[in-house]
């Protein structure tokens, strides 16, 4: 079975079900593939302190942990954080890579499969 470079780009904000499903999917894919999840635009809010239960959506904290444990990379675009005045990320107990637009374009262009949310 071919192990592929898979990139999941999350541009939707996390205040609905999309990010939860995207991360559940990323965990599944990380069992076979080299997965990078990249948060851009309002997607970067996923890495801040917010309260999913107040919106009736499940927390994806466990997926972030599992993804990291399986060797998946969690990346966030620096410029998108700056634009939104986000200076502090939530501590998920896993490594979160802050990369600039150019580095992110590089990662996307090297991917074999790209999924966007």
């Amino acid at each position: 079975m071919a192990k592929k470079k898979v990139v999941s780009i999350i541009k939707a904000n996390p205040f609905g079900w999309k990010t939860f499903e995207a991360l559940r999917q990323a965990v599944g894919m990380a069992m076979d593939h080299q997965v990078s999840v990249i948060f851009v635009r309002d997607g970067v809010f996923a890495l801040t302190n917010w309260n999913p239960q107040m919106l009736g959506v499940p927390s994806f904290d466990k997926s972030i942990e599992a993804l990291s444990m399986l060797g998946g990379k969690i990346i966030v675009e620096k410029e998108c954080l700056g634009d939104r005045g986000i200076t502090k990320l939530k501590d998920f107990g896993v490594e979160i890579l802050i990369k600039d637009k150019e580095e992110i374009c590089q990662i996307i262009s090297q991917a074999e499969v790209v999924i966007t949310w």
Binding site: N13, F45, P52
Partner: protein
């Protein structure tokens, strides 16, 4: 006396500007709370703001019951 309560759901999705009069109130709900409007007469749904981990000054915040109180007194409500 409030004429129309506008419930705004999306960031920067404001109704035809001419539509809003001094007797109207704009209340940001859902993702609309992510961006603050430039007009003056606005409030935001408290639970939607807190849920998203945002900071908006307390005097702008209304809980769901506050919003229903306003809607009851208004002539009508328009969700935009």
């Amino acid at each position: 006396m409030v004429d129309t309560v506008y419930l705004i759901k999306k960031p920067a999705e404001f109704p035809i500007a001419d539509l809003i009069s001094d007797n109207d109130v704009m209340i940001l709900i859902q993702d609309a709370v992510l961006r603050q409007p430039s007009i003056s007469n606005w409030y935001a749904c408290k639970e939607d703001v807190i849920a998203r981990g945002l900071k908006i000054s307390e005097n702008r915040l209304l809980d769901y019951e506050d919003i229903l109180n306003l809607i009851e007194k208004a002539n009508k409500v328009i969700v935009w």
